[in-house]
Amino acid sequence: MQFHRAQTLDEALDLLGELGDDALVLAGGTDAVIQYLAGEIAPEAFVHIEGIEDLTTVSLNHRTTLGPLVTHRVLATDEVIGAVHPALAASARTVGGWQTQAVGTIGGNICNASPAADTVPPLLVADAYVTLASRRGRRRLALMDFFLDRRQTVMDPDEMLTAIDLDPLPRGSGEVYLKVGRRGAMEVALVGMAVRIGFAADGTVDSARIALCSVAPTPRRVPDAEKALIGSRLDGGVFDAAGEALRAAACPIDDARASASYRRRTLGGLLERAAIQCREAVTS
């Protein structure tokens, strides 16, 4: 195996262009190194990108742009990011411990394409887009269209994720990320749910976005559940209808950590809790 250090994006893209299929991008390595040590992956070369300063930046504007090397620790602790992306910050706080957050990156969390990637639901409710670059050019696509299946994405071997852009939380809206795990810390999500709700002045829901992870091979938005909330005041039977839509959208797995039926049953109650918290976040 070879180990290449790229100092600039151009260098990284040249290397990926030459090596293509044989090379694997290495950012913080909290997924890739574990997979390598366990023999799950055997790349001919790592292209180490952690030294590319340009990919660590955060810019806050009418859209927020995050470099792929922004770490979970930065998302979790930066007060400015936390104010406009509270659900994203909350999700980063649930990733492993400090040691994992200190080096693990948002780009790696996305590109690893685990069904349980915690930062993805908050990105989906913020209408995130990803920019992919290669020597052949650049393309920008909705994050929703990036994932094909568990651990599979539309990214070609010579491509790299170079930016993520998303909507900051608008005035009159609230958002939360709730993660169900068995213990407080260091736990893969059994179910992760991000919710962003916009309220009219009279308290009616005028927009709703709901996204889930760990309930299907890829993270996803649930439009039918969103529709069930819009126009309501989060009362009456809305959570029955929305919960039904969530259960229909989820095809969770049975595994050693929880049964599929447990994962499905938690969804309605979780949404109700999340929606109420969104409302409290706005009015407070």
Partner: protein, 160 residues
């Protein structure tokens, strides 16, 4: 498959090293087997327990899942760097005084994470201490004595 050595220069506890390492060699292995710094422990070797925690540029990281080749230009600190001239650092002494060490296997990792915490925030609340320690597991102490040792050190340093 051919394995190519990678040249890498970084410092450990202030001492500069220039090494040629295997591309898949972890920092934990480099520290323990090449540099004979065996204070850093190998527990789970998959990033879960924190026994292998060291500081890289002042941030706590699990050395068992960090490739040495990725450390070009970085500054690494290990538990060996906490004591000077044979004298224990204040946090190390507090661990002894408060019974925070039983089998001791987790201790170097706890000390490194807490060193990073106290450098960043000299008077953390007990909640902040617990949160900082999410990635460090201790099977013996039940954590209480460890939190008490930190409280003792911070009380010491904030006393007028």
């Amino acid at each position: 498959m051919t394995v190519n050595g990678v040249a890498v220069a970084f410092s450990v506890n202030g001492v500069a090293h220039r090494l040629e390492v295997g591309p898949g060699e972890t920092l934990l292995r480099t520290l323990r087997e090449r540099l004979r710094l065996t204070g850093t422990k190998d527990g789970c070797v998959e990033g879960e327990c924190g026994a292998c925690t060291v500081l890289v540029d002042d941030r706590p990281v699990d050395s068992c899942i960090l490739l040495t080749a990725a450390l070009e230009g970085r500054q690494v600190r290990t538990v060996e760097g906490l004591s000077g001239d044979g004298a224990l650092g204040p946090l190390q002494q507090a661990f002894i005084d408060h019974g925070s060490v039983q089998c001791g296997f987790c201790t170097p990792g706890f000390l490194m994470t807490l060193t990073a915490l106290l450098e960043e925030n000299p008077s953390p609340s007990s909640f902040e201490v617990r949160e900082a320690l999410d990635g460090n597991i201790c099977r013996c102490t039940g954590y209480r004595q460890i939190i008490e040792a930190v409280a003792a050190v911070t009380a010491e340093s904030t006393r007028p």
